[in-house]
Symmetry: C2
Subunit: 279 residues, 2 copies
């Protein structure tokens, strides 16, 4: 069995190198429109060979989509139009729009919507690592609409990646990811912009940067090519969370502004309840 990976960056490259490590398939075929990515993916051993998308559709049993979500929106109908019994696994970060787009497609059953809750702030083939997915969650969305054999094959790959799995509908998925992933990136981008703005006038500002700053701002290194389409596809949920987050920041601001330090202490103590969630 051959597996094609469309988009050989952080996610696609990490899937490739891990599946090569476990010898799950005969060949990993890499598809990427960027020539420099093609070259690096071969050099780094993330894939066995490079092919065009059409060649890959002819020679692979499984097609894994790990391009930005706007490209997934374009490619998925094109691919479903051209396959027979192959399996298409979409590993994008948003699901409602893509699922609406293919809801009546005759090959809908060959498509599996899966979102690996794993990543780093780095991008491109050089960022790929075989253990990126280990012990993380694979979220299947509307799995009941996939053919049983298609789902089983996707789930076998999830096993190879050493992931746990969970099931959601598309509305739940897109709303939850807005809260636990998309908003974290937006706060990091904004924090970086805030501090970079100040640095212009105060060059020494970063001498003091400690690990707290680093951990809240590191996501601001993330790729705009990947993230802009995510915010576009998940616009409504993201706007809702962002408005709520700004409201909470304003509350903290107003407590300090009004010198209501008892109120501030209470808010911080309330936020400490996050300990229940992250150990």
């Amino acid at each position: 069995m051959n597996i094609a990976i469309v988009g050989i960056g952080l996610i696609g490259g990490s899937v490739g190198i891990r599946l090569k490590q476990t010898k799950f398939c005969n060949k990993i075929i890499g598809v990427d429109k960027n020539e420099s990515n093609q070259k690096k993916a071969l050099e780094l051993g993330l894939v066995d060979e490079i092919a065009t998308l059409d060649e890959a559709l002819e020679n692979a049993k499984v097609i894994v989509l790990t391009v930005p979500v706007d490209a997934i929106m374009q490619l998925t109908p094109y691919i479903l139009d051209r396959i027979n019994d192959q399996v298409v696994i979409d590993m994008g970060s948003t699901k409602i729009n893509i699922l609406n787009k293919i809801v009546d497609h005759p090959k809908r059953g060959r498509y599996v919507a899966a979102h690996p809750m794993a990543g780093t702030e780095y991008s491109g083939p050089e960022a790929a690592v075989p253990n990126l997915f280990k012990d993380k969650n694979m979220v299947y969305v509307e799995a009941f609409k996939s053919d049983e054999d298609a789902f089983d094959l996707a789930d076998a790959i999830t096993d190879q990646l050493e992931m746990k799995s969970t099931f959601m509908n598309a509305e739940e998925h897109d709303m939850h990811t807005a809260y636990v992933s998309h908003i974290s990136h937006l706060t990091s981008f904004a924090l970086a912009l805030t501090v970079l703005e100040k640095e212009k006038s105060q060059g020494r500002i970063f001498e003091l940067a400690g690990s707290g700053f680093e951990s809240t701002v590191r996501l601001a290194k993330s790729s705009p090519d990947m993230w802009t389409p995510i915010f576009k596809q998940n616009r409504e949920n993201v706007l809702e969370v962002l408005a709520e987050h700004i409201k909470q920041l304003k509350k903290l601001h107003d407590k300090i502004d009004q010198e209501d330090y008892d109120g501030l202490h209470k808010l911080i103590k309330k936020s400490n309840k996050i300990k229940r969630i992250i150990k």
Copy 2:
């Protein structure tokens, strides 16, 4: 030589355990008004003995202050009134107010303002670790106002902690820490409040929490007893940074709201410049 540590939590405990490890002094005397902290500090070997503040002032050559900054404001004049040639090292996170308070104190020379840019989101004696300070920055503030022998003794302790050092005036220090430390905590507190709010109605939200969420929200586990006084002491700087941060978040919000995805892409790309700073 004996060293007294006033406040045996994350910072004080870590200083104690490290100085015991390097055998820099005869005895570490722990001072803490909390009995449970006293007991734990002894059990964990962070200090050699427990004493009252007045006993410590009689028996120690160096007094290290690692209590919250409002307590430092109260204790420092009290301590300076009572010492002879001992050295007082203030390791608090804000400096302008405390320096103003003791500017004319006859014992000002015995006081060294030093801020170790190190910490974790955990607090209390159990959080203490000997290598907390390794390779981090110790910021000396208005060091030129300390007696030479007092500064040299403080700097010898900085060496024992394996820290680098840097010098700033109080205005620079308080402004820079607002940007690279205090704001990170405020965004984390607000992010935790945002998500906890949503969790009430959407219980499964945290199943999806990945490492990105964890790194931006982990500081929300930080102690309100430590942080409320910091925001109080550094109120003006913190309000300025917080207003700027809210402005940047609103910019991102408006780009998404107006579906200006080119503009959004540009902002994210600009924020990527943080790569220059954090590797």
